[in-house]
Symmetry: C2
Subunit: 115 residues, 2 copies
């Protein structure tokens, strides 16, 4: 089966992550599991990709972090919350997606057609 390559997904990890933060704050491990289950195992984000996206998007003001210190065993967990700028960025990226999709589909030969 075809796999999703890193070059193809590049530029979309941001919106995938932000989508999962639209309603509630969340954290790395949970988001990675949600991406996996929502995509029906078709896309499994790499940990390094995910956490570096958090760092970058926080730097850009699209998300904010806060730490839950009170987990069992004194463990901590870093949550992320989407900011208004992040919502705006998400909206813009969705528009860009629509446009990009239209453009790319002009260069795709549909299934069943001879190539």
């Amino acid at each position: 089966m075809a796999e999703i390559s890193s070059d193809v997904i590049r530029g979309y990890n941001d919106i995938i992550i932000l989508y999962l933060l639209l309603n509630d704050p969340s954290y790395g491990y949970e988001i990675s599991k949600q991406i996996r289950s929502l995509s029906e195992d078709k896309y499994i984000i790499k940990e390094t990709t995910l956490y570096s996206a958090f760092t970058r998007m926080e730097k850009n003001g699209f998300i904010e972090s806060f730490v839950d210190q009170d987990l069992a065993g004194g463990k901590k967990r870093t949550y992320y919350r989407i900011t208004p700028a992040g919502r705006e960025y998400y909206r813009a990226k969705c528009e860009e997606w629509t446009l990009t999709k239209e453009v790319i589909e002009k260069f795709i030969v549909g299934e069943g057609r001879a190539v």
Copy 2:
């Protein structure tokens, strides 16, 4: 208006170029004009991107080049022709596109919906 960013198009330039070689050989300048007109000016590929894609794809065996030496004034023009491996690569990339589109659309909130 939303613009197509380089991160988003990354990974699709190959299929855009190969699509334009499916029926006939062509060359850089013509392909760049065709991309522009077919996309209705929504996507204008950068020259450096285009020519480095040629180099890379030739190295990978997806296209072959030949030179027309007989242009007016002794000018030459480098044409590219898609190979069977290139057709196979194009087909695979189209499949990947279908899959990727399905995945990404699970993380997109449609127009008119509150975000």
